[in-house]
């Protein structure tokens, strides 16, 4: 498993770990049942905080990509396409929420916003 942490990136470190592990699970580089390094070992090997690493694992577990067996460790969960879709949907929702907040700040009405979206989709 490869994890490259960039200190220059704007993305928080836990998110970098989360995304890279997620990517490797989706792509099949990490397969179902594979044991992941312990939170502490990974943190120490990446020379980052234990809390940061724990957060990445927590997020991965919350989204169903990995599971924890008490006393044994963390493992890659069964790949669930439904889950991947759900994850992407959640990301979409989050992006829309940010778009909405921006729109509110610019005093853009709902219909104007919808129009913008239509225009954008038309371009594509």
């Amino acid at each position: 498993m490869d994890i490259i942490i960039s200190n220059a990136a704007d993305q928080p470190i836990y998110e970098q770990i989360f995304n890279q592990m997620k990517q490797q699970i989706i792509s099949g580089k990490l397969s179902e049942g594979d044991m992941l390094p312990s939170i502490r070992a990974l943190a120490k090997d990446l020379k980052i905080s234990v809390i940061t690493t724990k957060r990445a694992y927590d997020e991965l577990e919350k989204e169903g990509f990995i599971y924890t067996v008490a006393g044994k460790g963390c493992f890659v969960a069964e790949k669930n396409l439904e889950l991947v879709r759900e994850g992407n949907l959640r990301e979409l929702e989050e992006l829309l929420r940010r778009a909405d907040a921006l729109a509110a700040g610019l005093n853009i009405s709902d219909s104007e916003l919808m129009e913008m979206l239509h225009l954008l989709r038309g371009e594509n």
Binding site: D10, P12, I13, K44, K47, S49, V50, I51, A101
Partner: protein, 288 residues
């Protein structure tokens, strides 16, 4: 008072004043298994805090628990066998050689591991028979660290262990501390004014400024909660004052450290480093 305590260090309402310096009402917790970085300029009270934690300095008020025991209790004397200390200004007498240090500390610490000490000497490339007087600053620090590690402590107290060292040596030393906490029972309190060193290895950051603890936070949370904002002075009025930690008025605009969640997400913010946060906090005098 169990052996497996949740906190390696717990300091409550600690106050100490002498001369015209006061360490005022310090509260902090170092959870077992983690590394806490203590940041602060010279004279902020870092060394004083270390001395109070080891109970070599009389406090005015407050309570300190170390490895689950009150450090005023009689058990604390024996508990020193489980603590490793490195002090930047004070150390082993220079007429000793590492071999002699081994001979002395073997008689001092209950859990002294001679094989481990010699292993560390080899790892650090320290000649066992030369006197400390002949060592470079980096070598002296490495010896001090080895001496603090070789009795297998559960807690390391490190006062400025990287100051005055070249980047390569600092890297070596930080790697040792990083490895020490592979064991979840081991914890570190480390002070430094080189913030980037702390940013690398710490789980928690505590910031002492003029005798006060301005914050003690998870490092990640700090980096996430704060952001830098840069804008023309005229536009700055729209930023809610409550969100601003401190600001710097420059010739061509304003630069401010803000709480990310208290401002409208439409503001363009920049990612902060720990160094930015510390600098702005110390200049802003902690204006909430």
């Amino acid at each position: 008072m169990s052996e497996t305590n949740a906190n390696a260090i717990k300091v409550g309402h600690l106050t100490k004043s002498y001369g015209n310096f006061t360490l005022r009402d310090v509260n902090l917790c170092l959870p077992t298994g983690s590394i806490m970085g203590l940041v602060g300029e010279n004279g902020a009270g870092k060394t004083t805090l270390f001395k109070l934690i080891m109970n070599v300095l009389e406090r005015d008020e407050g309570k300190i628990c170390v490895l689950g025991h009150d450090n005023l209790s009689p058990e604390f004397g024996d508990l020193r066998n489980d603590i490793g200390v490195v002090l930047s200004g004070a150390g082993l007498p220079e007429y000793l050689s590492p071999r002699q240090v081994n001979g002395i500390l073997r008689q001092t610490f209950r859990g002294w591991n001679e094989a481990y000490f010699r292993q560390l000497m080899a790892d650090f490339k320290l000649p066992e028979n030369k006197t400390i007087k002949e060592f470079s600053t980096g070598m002296k620090m490495k010896l001090a660290i080895a001496a603090a590690l070789a009795h297998n402590p559960r807690l390391l107290l490190l006062d400025e262990p990287t100051s005055g060292l070249d980047p390569m040596t600092r890297e070596d030393i930080l790697a040792v501390f990083n490895d020490f906490t592979r064991n979840p029972a081991n914890s570190i309190l480390i002070s430094s004014h080189i913030v980037s060193d702390l940013e690398k290895i710490c789980d928690y950051i505590a910031f002492l400024h003029e005798g006060r603890l301005l914050f003690c936070e998870e490092k990640d949370r700090l980096l996430e909660d704060y952001a830098l904002i840069k804008m023309p002075a005229a536009d700055f009025a729209v930023v809610p004052p409550g969100a601003v930690v401190s600001l710097r008025r420059e010739a061509y605009g304003v630069e401010a450290l803000v709480k990310k969640h208290d401002i409208n997400p439409s503001f363009v913010t920049e990612h902060t480093t720990l160094e930015d946060i510390i600098l702005f906090w110390s200049k802003g005098g902690g204006a909430q």
